[in-house]
Symmetry: C2
Subunit: 931 residues, 2 copies
């Protein structure tokens, strides 16, 4: 191993911002700021390699580490002019975690190290503030006791022994706030804290500062693998890191009196992206007080009144940091006796709104280039721009007033039943309920509940509180620090004024402004969607204009086409507004469920098997001939008649569907998939449903039940579906192709160009495709001829899904019959990996936790396995037919890393649900930029 | 197109035996025999290309065909000295089908062409036999009417108008047999036949012989695509042929009087292979009379008494043909007025017994080489050698006597319920019943019923009758020509003497000797199996000795290993006797169903999910730690205890299983697969079964029901099974590996070497294998150490099934963790093709009929698709690990064409069920010879 400890101070700095992997984000940026002559308390960083070594060697350190730390400590004493453990002039230090990726609040921190029974007096003397000295001591005792000596309670319901002692003392002294306690009270608190430590830990609080330091270092390194840190990394998909760095830094105190304070800020608004200095501070407080949300801090702008010099210095630093880092920064600072210290800078987490606006404006400001702007915005969060909002008109019409107001901590409107614990949120959500999680404040243990909640409300905490940071990251609407709420966990209710809100009551929240309504408010489309729908003028929406600008840049880089999966004209219209360049998948089966047509389709299903049996018995394929041959068998004739009639009924309905879609596309291509699911999906499986259907259809419930039983499949996923239906029941394919082509002719004649692409599903063997293609081409040409049109006028294509592994590996053969391939990666994942999507939940979660798959392969394309099948099929397909059109219509088509894969293997387009179209456009642009 | 018509005669022959594809088997061999100076009536052959042209051009012929036929007819007139259509000296000809592959009785034949109202008199005068002339005429009218003019009834129940007229006339005349009719009667018959033709066909029987000829040619070409011919080709998997040839040949008559006769013969015994001239003949009959089974013919040896000169000539021809063709021949001959004519020779169809003996003896005779012998015997029929036989001891003990006796037409013992029609046979077989199909005689329409019957009995017909030929081909035991049976289709019963046997009564038949028992006789192992089992001495079994000899030749050519799939010591012993070189697959799950152990395993299943949930909740994997953490939760503690206890109970049972298998293998390797099926397969799905289980286990039925419901899967094939079980429940894998290794140590210590191969099922991702391999190696080494043994002493391997497509395409990765691959082609077919084996019956049959797949891919490996995955995995696996051991354990491992594929891609071994081992050995030898 190389150098283990990196020093930073005004005079000497070993590291810089490029060394985040080794020094962690915090350590690297502290070094960088030191180099930039920004005031940073000096210190040193133990590398992430040390953490890796520590994990791999059962808590041992690499050789020489202790000496390196001792040397650095010496330098620190020189830089600060204080001595660690010295009775007269004690150096106090902090020990903080800091990984490559920020994991706020997940790992441990210990402040005020170096205070002992002996040095506390020196600290008092040197600072001239005995109360401060003992306050620092009791803070150290509590943090050290909790973190290093493991006195922290393991569950939410247990009590922290230090908090209990503090509350007891406050009661004894009649003190309301901590600050009401006197110096003598704090001395008593120190005594009681030391006693409880010795009692519970079985050993006293260490009076040797070096022992304190090494205890803290070990605790921070160990905290890398505490359960909540592991869970955080899982949720946020943080992988492949060695561990955390440890930052040892001279303490500066925001809690030494009136000239002191501490704060956190963003160089731009993390919610909206506005180019405004945005933050909060608390006077006479340590930094943890702001972040923990225990006291509600003041807006940063008011600091201009209180300490104008400091404020002006901060404004300069803000400008310097943005110019240097060329991105929005998230900073922490402390003011000690009128002197400003920067404790942290990092690229700021922000909402999708903030990402969009900040990047667009930074391009305009000349700070960054367009490709930087496009490649930075996280595509995975981009669809939050289209997140719903509360219906303002409903609120006005019903003259609703907010019952409480808090900080607009995470944008979005939400409505749901109130729950007061993360567990209850998870239970209710699992039962299909929409919930709003209401907490006094949130902690890392609440992440599971926040993950399933529609929205989050806290009674305490600011914009940088845990609730606010996490909710923004999740795209979950959040109102934080709604201080009027009185929350009673035990009674499962909250009160605001005279109003009682019990668990299960419905509330609505507006995360854009921080309002809480004691009512069920309809949730509306986002502002961008409203503009797209013509409900709002673009002039009145800066958000929309930024979006338009940004997307035009993205489209400029993008080479991959983006289509949509849409089954209705309505969805098609939305998708086209979102920039879809055509339809990649229309599922025709959904259409059969609409209105009365399900009756016709069910009639078809009931007759189909009989028709098939007759065909086999009579060895006659032609329906009319078959009917003649069976003329003496009434049941047979009835079945054939019913089959034909149902198809005749469905034809005009399907034609109407397709006309609507073609019109909505206005000349863009539409890939329409023929019937895919097994026929039993169209019949109800429960007795009640069967009875209903029987009544509607005028047959006995037994007939329906028998049909359902005869159609039953053990593994429907691998059953009689897809092109296997069209091959056994060619009339269904014929009807569908006829409907598509007649619709195309009609719309073409009305003056709108049409590009139909007929897609045959579930092909595994080229001969399946050959049969269905032959049928399709024959019907299509018949319809064209009947309409006096030619293929030049309606240039239809016939192609196939590639979703059966066999099709992927024989794609060279399949391509002989296919104008295009569309990868159905949902089914290809099911068959390729052998996972039933309906069942795999039972083990897939464990699989991801065990690291067998990095991600759920149904959400993120399994590139090594399923992706290999896709890549192979692309190569084989192009070998046969170099100009074959290649696309993807599985749900992976809207997932950024999968889109990047599609770009890499050279697909022509991806197709995804309408609301994911902008995500796919952005991901495609990023893939092009990064390739 | 080239030459369409090939002439053959003593003087000029255009074709030869190598031209079977063009001239059909019959035509090519007629030409070849002509060349060999064997007496053959002259004639000419229209090629199969003409048939192909005819099919493709809506019944039109290629240009110039009519001229070629006319020229050939002229040559034929010259060769015979007769004139076609000449009133004084009429040439009569036959028109017969003849494809590349023999399709006996499937296509049409017309004899006696050239008889007209005018020529019949000349024929009478020339032959001096007026009765013969009119008999020929009435035969022509019936055949031509049935075949060319389509008067043949379409269904079994309809009557042939000619038969009706014949019966009526016989009744009028008081005639019992056809031969009782006088010349005048035959003239009357001719008149009536002509009348019925004109009446039913709407046009008269053509009096122009040339018109007759072309009508017959067209009928024969058309008959290539008649439904029964199509069905025959499907059943016998005959594909890729252009069509049938048409052989036009001068008639010779076996029915002209006492010096006349006709017969069919084999150069060796087609049932046993004995080197004896074997055949039958009828005096004063046409050839069709022998084959159709209407009269029961005489054994060929009696011809020596009747016509010793002819017999001696036949014996010479027999020798000449065998020497020339170097294989057993199936011949047809006719004797006309004391002159012998050969009408056909072809390689004889025969039983597996006959194949074996004839080939072994031909090698000994120096006629053929060993590789020829080995490569000729159809591997697909080889397992019929091991077909069961009737239990002779049971027959003796119960003093059973045959109630009837017929010809030993197809070997094998069978027992089942009597049915009297093919349809009833199919219905009963579909309902799971074992049936014996009893018919007066069979016809091509009966093939479906014969296919599902255990055995076939006919009351009429000889060894070469339809029933006998088809049953031998199917390996279906058959007793033919049991003339004492009086069969009454209408009453659905038969009588023999005073005994009534009704439909549904059980009979037993012995196809080796032709006996029929009115009793249920147990069916016993074959003679070879009896020798292998030590129940019969090899000295007393020539069959066994030939088998041993033949297999030793085969093994000499074979390079592919052959293992067996066996789950019990019993099966293992059998398989080793059949030559298995180890076990390729032991399915451990079957063992859990035995006896009481299912209770323990069900206890495990009931507890497993609770244990899993606790693990997730507590974040503790170790069972003991988990139990500690849950100590206050009684239900949790109970579940953990039950889980551990069930595993402890199962361990010694499994160990015992494996000890038995290792002992049976006596040092051969054993691949043992860890638990594969989903857990719900071990619980009953019906309420009654659940109640029973609940009672046995002492829990409420609701608990069982709830567990079944919670374990329910929509697609269990793609569900929580295979290694997914071992990963979520590692203790199950641990227990199994421990049982395997402890058994291995115990057996090793007892002095028997052991080679265990631990196989991880359903691996899709290398990390799954890595986890299970790590666990297996750890447990294995623990057990070895505990027993004071080393891996050198018990060289265990850990490998995986390749049955998930993802595993096949990432086999390079998988191979990093696998000592061996075993291709599970059953599941690889299910997932690769997307076919659920349990459901695909609904369309797979149609798929094969439509030619989408050549064969059911579950029976014959789909080489282009699934095989591509296999080949890819072999290549990738070897790239990573050049010495990786490769095998197959799907059911394809015993199917000859699939075995050939395995040889081609270079697998180390195939594994199949015990009784298929000899088939696989033979197929592997043939693959080596043919490669």
């Amino acid at each position: 191993m190389g150098k283990n400890v990196f020093f930073f101070s005004k005079e000497q700095t070993d590291g810089n911002a490029t060394m985040k992997e080794l020094l962690g984000g915090k350590g690297a940026n502290l070094a960088e700021m030191s180099e930039l002559d920004i005031p940073v308390p000096p210190g040193f960083t133990l590398t992430t390699e040390v953490c890796g070594y520590f994990q791999d060697h059962e808590g041992n350190y690499p050789d020489g580490l202790r000496e390196e730390v001792a040397d650095s400590l010496k330098k620190l004493e020189t830089a600060t002019g204080k001595i660690f453990g010295n009775v007269e002039n004690p150096l106090l230090i902090s020990v903080r975690s800091g990984a490559f990726v920020s994991m706020p609040g997940m790992m441990d921190t210990i402040l005020n190290l170096g205070v002992t029974d002996e040095t506390v007096a020196g600290l008092a003397a040197k600072s001239g503030n005995e109360r401060f000295a003992y306050d620092s001591y009791r803070r150290l005792l509590q943090m050290y006791g909790d973190v290093v000596m493991n006195l922290k309670p393991e569950t939410e319901t247990d009590h922290d022994p230090f908090e209990e002692i503090l509350e007891a003392l406050k009661n004894e002294k009649g003190a309301k706030l901590d600050t009401d306690l006197s110096t003598e009270d704090l001395k008593e608190l120190v005594a009681r804290f030391k006693a409880v430590i010795e009692q519970k830990a079985g050993r006293p609080f260490p009076q040797d500062p070096t022992e304190q330091l090494w205890g803290a270092i070990e605790a921070v390194f160990s905290s890398w693998n505490n359960p909540r840190a592991i869970k955080y990394r899982q949720i946020n998909d943080i992988k492949g890191l060695l561990g955390t760095a440890v930052n040892v830094q001279a303490m500066v105190f925001g809690n030494m009196g009136d000239g002191c304070g501490t704060g956190v800020a963003f160089t731009r608004d993390p919610a909206t992206g506005a180019n405004e200095f945005y933050g909060e501070y608390l006077m006479n407080a340590q930094g943890e007080d702001v972040v923990a949300g225990i006291r509600t801090p003041l807006p940063i702008s008011t600091l201009d009144d209180e300490m104008p010099g400091i404020y002006s210095e901060l404004i300069d630093i803000r400008a310097k940091l943005e110019a240097h880092y060329r991105d929005m920064q998230d900073i922490e600072f402390t003011i000690e006796d009128g002197v400003l210290y920067m404790l942290q800078t990092r690229n700021g987490k922000r909402t999708a709104f903030s990402w969009l606006r900040s990047q667009v404006e930074m391009v305009r400001e000349g700070l960054i280039a367009k490709d930087e702007a496009v490649s930075r915005v996280p595509a995975s969060e981009f669809d939050k721009l289209f997140a719903p909002i509360l219906d303002k008109k409903y609120i006005d019409r019903n003259e609703l007033k907010p019952v409480a107001n808090g900080l607009n901590a995470s944008p979005g409107g939400a409505c749901g039943q109130v729950v007061f614990s993360a567990d209850e949120a998870e239970t209710a959500a699992a039962a299909g309920k929409k919930v709003i999680l209401v907490r006094i404040e949130t902690s890392p243990e609440d992440i599971g509940g926040m993950n399933v909640a529609e929205g989050v409300v806290t009674a305490r905490g600011g914009m940088t509180s845990h609730a606010a940071v996490v909710a923004r990251g999740m795209g979950c609407p959040c109102v934080a620090g709604a201080e009027d709420l009185r929350i009673d966990y035990a009674a499962k209710k909250m009160t605001v004024g005279n109003l009682n809100i019990a668990q299960g009551d419905v509330i609505s929240i507006d995360g854009f402004v921080g309002d809480i309504y004691n009512a069920e408010v309809p949730v509306m489309p986002s502002e961008i969607v409203q503009v797209l729908n013509g409900e709002l003028s673009a002039e009145n929406s800066e958000l929309y204009r930024n979006y338009e600008t940004f997307m035009s840049w993205a489209d400029g880089f993008r080479t991959l086409g983006v289509r949509t999966n849409a089954d209705t004209p309505h969805d098609t219209v939305i998708a086209v507004k979102f920039g879809a360049e055509g339809i990649g998948l229309t599922r025709t089966e959904h259409m059969f469920f609409e209105g009365d047509r399900i009756v016709s389709f069910r009639r078809l299903v009931l007759a189909a098997e009989t028709v098939k049996r007759l065909r086999v018995d009579e060895e006659i394929d032609d329906l009319t001939e078959l009917q003649k041959a069976c003329k003496d068998d009434k049941a047979a004739v009835d079945a054939i008649r019913q089959y034909k009639q149902a198809l005749q009924e469905l034809l005009p309905l399907q034609r109407g569907d397709f006309e609507g879609i073609f019109k909505a596309l206005n000349g863009l291509p539409a890939t329409i998939r023929l019937l895919d699911p097994p026929l039993h999906e169209f019949l109800p499986h429960d007795a009640e449903g069967q009875k209903e259907v029987a009544d509607v259809m005028g047959v006995s419930a037994d007939i329906i039940r028998e049909k359902v039983e005869s159609l039953h499949e053990f593994n429907p996923m691998l059953g009689h579906r897809g092109c296997r239906l069209g091959i056994i029941y060619p009339e269904i394919s014929e009807m569908q192709v006829r409907a598509i082509m007649e619709a195309a002719c009609n719309v073409h004649k009305s003056g709108t160009p049409v590009k139909p692409e007929i897609m045959i599903p579930l092909v595994g063997h080229v001969k399946e495709l050959a049969l269905q293609r032959e049928l399709s081409v024959q019907v299509a040409n018949e319809v064209l001829t009947a309409n006096g049109l030619t293929k030049a006028e309606i240039p239809y294509l016939v192609g196939t899904m590639i979703e059966v592994p066999r099709a992927a590996v024989t794609a060279d053969q399949i391509a002989t019959e296919a104008d295009f391939f569309s990868f159905g990666t949902n089914d290809l994942t099911q068959m390729g990996c052998g996972f039933s999507r309906d069942d795999a939940g039972k083990f897939l979660k464990d699989y991801v936790e065990l690291g067998i798959y990095d991600k759920d392969p149904f959400q993120v394309l399994d590139q090594a396995g399923v992706g290999k099948l896709v890549a192979m099929a692309c190569e084989l397909g192009r070998k046969t037919r170099p100009d074959i059109k290649l696309g993807i219509c599985g749900e992976h088509g809207g997932e950024p890393s999968s889109v990047a894969f599609c770009h890499k293997v050279g697909l022509n387009y991806v197709s995804c649900s309408p609301y994911r179209v902008p995500v796919a456009r952005l991901a495609a642009a990023q893939a092009a930029i990064n390739s």
